[in-house]
Amino acid sequence: MDFNHSEDRRMLADTLRRFLAERYSLDTRHRISASERGYSPEIWGELAALGVPAALLGEPLGGFGGSGFDLMVVFEALGRALVVEPFLGLAMVGRLLADGAGRADLASGLLDGTQIAAVALYEPGARYDLTNVTTRAERSATGGWTLSGGKAVVPQLESATRIVVSARVDTGLALFIVPRDADGVSIKGYPLVDGGRGGELVLQAVQLPADTRIACGDDALGTIEAAVAAGIVALGAEAVGILDVIKDSTLDYLRTRVQFGVPIGKFQALQHRMATVAIEIEQARSAVINAAAALDDDRLARERAVSAAKVTLGRVGTLVAEESIQLHGGIGMTWELPLPHFAKRLIMIGHQLGDEDHHLERYVRLGRG
């Protein structure tokens, strides 16, 4: 047992954190967030050159990482800088393609950043249910597939060049890779409250070649679960990075803001609440470590660990976001301060890949299964 990251991972994390500290100030982030594309192709390219995609993808796909702890170091750093670049799809697509044995070709361009992947699994009205899929894929006359349907709130959809989509086939679920520029693909993009961008995907009789189907049947659901698990580890690590920044900046504020003649951090009622915040953050970190460690375990252990992590992050994220704003007072509500942007992202992570309630229920169900 060893709670230190390997040296390779520590080096990657250091490099990434240095790069982001230099190049990805909050002002830069706001500018990128407000831009039409919602990400910076320049920064994206540079991060690819630093090897970040390679760290998120496993060897079969040409990367050198992709394990839970690889995701953890990368996304913790991304969280600390509140990065809006389209990494989540990359973290998940690693697992989606990994099971499509021998389909490394589909990963081409992901490593050097020339291709960007989005993952579109949830549908309007389906909430967080991955099996509630009405998008249909029918065999076309040419032996390919015709996809019709729609997907809801797909993160970073507009930036994607390839979209992994779940669809219903006669034998159950299947997964397809849909090129952004295929006929019949339309995207309605919009800003998200946390500064990222998302979109609704509409597929109208989109014609795809046969080999775009990367999984089907029970396999497809298994692959989807594995990808969501990887996504939760990524989001969880991002949340941990954010939690640490929030804690530090709130402590700074408590040390410097003077009211009633003393720094407000001298007020015991606030101290004791910050102690709770600190404890909760350590518990959240442990939850993410558990999930990262379980990412390559058998399904039940993995799914219980990721659901436990999402439950923990949901509860802790809300607590810490709300407490940090409250402890800052009015200034904590202003756009000017970094804090509320971190808080907004933290809350919104709770709405991605299943919320606290969804995963609590799921954790209970898995325990019975």
Binding site: Y122, P124, G125, R127, Y128, D129, N132, A152, V153, K188, Y190, P191, L192, V193, D194, G198, E200, V258, Q259, F260, I264, F267, A269, L270, T318, E322, I325, Q326, G329, G330, G332, M333, T334, W335, E336, P340, H341, A343, K344, I347, M348, H351, Q352, D355, D357, L360, E361
Partner: protein
Amino acid sequence: MNVDFTAEDIAFRDEVRAFLRERLPKALSEKVRTGKHLTKEDMVGWHAILESRRWLASHWPEEWGGPGWSVVQRYIFDVEIALAHAPRIVPFGVNMLGPVLLKYGSDEQKKRWLPRILDGSDWWCQGYSEPGAGSDLANLKTQALRDGDHYVVNGQKTWTTLGKYADMIFCLVRTDPSAKKQKGISFLLIDMKTPGIEVRPIVLLDGDAEVSEVFFTDVRVPVENLVGDENLGWTYAKYLLTYERTNIAGVGASMAALDQLKEIARSEQKDGKPLAEDPQFAARLARVEIELENMKTTSLRVLAAAAHGGAPGAESSMLKIRGTEIRQEISSLARRALGPYAQPFISQALDEGFTGEAIGADYAAPIASQYFNQRKLSIFGGSNEIQREIITKTILEL
């Protein structure tokens, strides 16, 4: 003990409802219901409608234009206008300055300013907080030094809600720089058009700018604009705050928000059933509903006990804390109810005349930003921590 409304109360409630049905513009209540931004005209217009019935200043005595209602009637009125999705009465003139002038203002001041609040001539805003005086309000630094028939005001106020619309501001200023803290503070009325005043918007975390900073540079204010005695302004300030707190508690607002939350929970689907039937969500919703039911009675108990004295005292701190907790919990549940669709946020969608397509359900657009915006409830009007300090000293006597 009798906690039921009397027949007279019920008749009064029906009267209020009939008035709202007739006089509250549909387009306006629709804006409120759907969380759209209100314009100044929306708010001023609604005040005028209420005043046409002499119902704007529900807490004022009849001789100054109030309706002469009982505590219970005022409560009923507040609840009904909230449930009808009427705009909130802008409190600064009617509910904050009004009571102070009525209690501490000179006859001349009352005659001059009160009618102008009622007829909409003056939009008031509040000049209390400063960058260095938030929770520690008595630490304020804005100075007003006497110079002949004027005070010369220098300094800065902040968190001035809707300051951008204001004609007048009531300010706490330091008139005796040598006196300590609460001593040496005065309560001054300042015309916003006086030279030397500058208003700068503060952008909040949801991108909105409902609050402002107000800067004062050698602003000359006639001495007749001093309320009460020089250097005794702290007393008046505290009196005003008990009104503000009771107002923020917002039982009516919570009732309206709870109605909306229930509608959302019936409409959102989870596993093929309405979210309202999900055991976890239903339990959480029931808990906040029960708390609100309790809160209604707690509010009425506090208001009834204070009926003789006028304004509630430290008990208003209890109402403020629990009332804002309930409102925040409701907005948090609404956010959770939306699931993935809590994320999209097109801020223009909350403006009048937006013609774009809604993302997700039609009620979804403002929910997440309202959740973030309502974090302010536990901060302003004296943070909930300050309310706990008041409870500690005044009620717990620790």
